[in-house]
Amino acid sequence: MTVGTGAPTFVLALPKGRILRELTPLLTQAGLGPEPDFHDENSRKLRFATSDPKLEIIRVRSFDVATFVAFGAAQLGVAGNDVLLEFDYPEIYAPIDLGIGKCRLAVAEPAEMVGEDDPNRWSHIRVATKYPNVTRAHFAARGVQAECIKLSGAMELAPTLGLSRRIVDLVSTGATLKANNLVEVEHIADVTSRLVVNRTAWKTYPEEIGGWIERLRAAAGAI
């Protein structure tokens, strides 16, 4: 946060992409509507004003929202619990389930593999994913060592091109999996977007941060 001579300014970190569209009515309802430039994809600005003079918005990648908030560079943010599960930062609180950006984290494999192999016999498998920590923990819980190949996108290519036979990825409608001849075989977690808050910021500025949490909670309930 910027602590200057005047009142401190706080930062809300939002993920780029599809969540933003679902989020905008909620922000407006809570009195935190961003300036018009925010919706301009071509704008070179990185920081945007909101209708609350004490709060500004930054737009970053969804994984970076958690990092900005954990390190206190942003005091508030919106992140999916997939990201929170992956990093498990002790400095992040997730007080509101915003109920938007619904999808699930799942294991998928090529359709022709299904029924062929017996998961009970696995001791080691290879998985392409954006979520190596979640994936390792998921398989470790049943005694399987998962060797993860970290990708940043287009996980569905991995099985077709022989990078790995299985993937762990977000599934929304399942259309992308189907188009790539993949089948969802295991469910890891349901995912929704959460309001995330930096622990120290909340505790040291309880009135400001608490106030925004209350407003966003009311807005999330109303929409």
Binding site: M1, V3, P8, A70, F71, G72, N81, L84, F87, Y89, P90, E91, I92, Y93, A94, P95, I96, D97, T192, R194, V197, T200, W202, K203, T204, Y205, P206, E207, G210
Partner: protein, 377 residues
């Protein structure tokens, strides 16, 4: 690495060299903290760096087992642990060598601890600690004394905008156990993250009360009222009442102290049994320290706190550099002594020849001793 010699300078992850002026600043900070603790009647103890593992990690020390470096003692052929926290050591001293000293026993300590791995947010593996333990009392006044002493010590160091976050980590644990939850760990983990969605999912019929507990946060004015109105099971209510009592005592003694209540905060309070607290600064990442109530190895009620010197020295304003004066060869010994007594740092020339003024500047002096007088450069 371009130059093979660079490897010689590389330190293991999480370790660093303290350089001037930071190393001196940290040492001075410890002295001031210890003086403040002493003025409240806390007497210093000095436990060893390494102890036998079974003693170090027994009782409350067990919480540090995963963080502790081990090595084999070639003399006794027993396993030793390098301390990762000094509180269990002070507990051991109180329970053994000082067991017949009058209670309540007030002890202080300062030293370095080492941890097997750094945390995500705190990558340092060697951390300087300074703290106190107040042993052999169950009173709420003791809980308040720990908070007030920590606040006074930090204020004397020059920490601005301190906020003390008060918690009752056993409150939710007691509530869950008394409500028939055999394994409260998953719900406690969700509460630690204030993960409203997971608390709702895992909490079942208990979820509304847990949500109320999560909402009873913030400045005492609002949080205390909210907290008081929650219907709780008997030992959970006792935890809550103690938290309210301690907050009230602290507020009465130090009305200007920034206080925040967060009853469900549990993480990092593994061996604690009652009211705990974290010492935070506005705009400061990390904690200045933390403390709270626990039961030591001998089963005695105790409370105390630990301050982290790395967070403190990073957050405090840099000390004013001392005035340095350069003394050319042949300057009188008495004159030099007088200057030092007046607070000057004297830098003596060791060689003849170099031009005095140039040499003085090169060695970071602002003044020069010339013809029996102080001359500014």
């Amino acid at each position: 690495m371009a130059n093979g010699k660079d490897h010689q300078h590389l330190l293991p992850a999480g370790l660093k060299d303290g350089l001037p002026p930071d190393a001196a600043f940290e040492a001075a900070m410890v002295e001031r903290l210890m003086a403040c603790f002493a003025s409240w009647g806390y007497e210093r103890v000095k436990p060893p760096l390494i102890e036998f593992e079974d003693a170090l990690l027994s009782g409350m020390g067990a919480a540090m087992a995963a963080d502790t470096f081990r090595l084999m003692d070639p003399v006794s052929q027993r396993m030793m642990g390098l301390r990762a926290d000094m509180t269990p050591q002070v507990g051991r001293i109180a329970a053994s060598r000082l067991k017949s000293s009058a209670r309540p026993l007030r002890l202080s300590y300062a030293g370095q601890v080492l941890r097997v791995k750094g945390e995500q947010m705190r990558p340092e593996r060697q951390i300087g600690q300074a703290g106190v333990e107040l042993i052999g009392t169950e009173s709420a006044a003791a809980d308040a004394e720990a908070v007030l002493l920590a606040a006074e010590a930090l204020k004397q160091l020059g920490v601005a905008a301190l906020v003390v976050d008060l918690n009752a980590p056993m409150l939710a644990v007691s509530y869950l156990r008394e409500s028939g939850i055999a394994d409260p760990a998953p719900i406690i983990a969700a509460l630690d993250r204030k993960d409203a969605a997971a608390v709702k999912e895992l909490g079942g019929a208990l979820a509304p009360t847990l949500q109320q507990l999560m909402n009873a946060v913030g400045a005492p004015a609002q949080a205390l009222d909210r907290l008081a109105s929650i219907a709780l099971t008997p030992s959970a209510a006792a935890q809550r009442d103690r938290l309210v009592e301690v907050a009230t005592l602290v507020q009465a003694a130090a009305p200007d102290l920034g206080l925040n209540l967060d009853p469900t905060d549990h993480r990092g309070f593994e061996y604690h049994t009652g009211v705990t607290f974290s010492l935070l600064g506005r705009g400061v990442a990390g904690e200045f320290g933390r403390g709270g109530r626990y039961v030591n190895q001998a089963g005695e009620d105790a409370t105390g706190f630990t301050l982290y010197l790395d967070t403190l020295s990073a957050a405090l304003p840099a000390p004013k550099p001392a005035r340095r004066i350069f003394l050319p060869r042949g300057a009188s010994h008495d004159a030099a002594l007088r200057l030092r007594q007046e607070g000057w740092v004297t830098i003596h020339a060791l060689d003849n020849g170099a031009e005095d003024e140039k040499e003085a500047r090169r060695l970071g002096c602002s003044h020069l001793w010339r013809n029996g007088a102080i001359q500014m450069l």
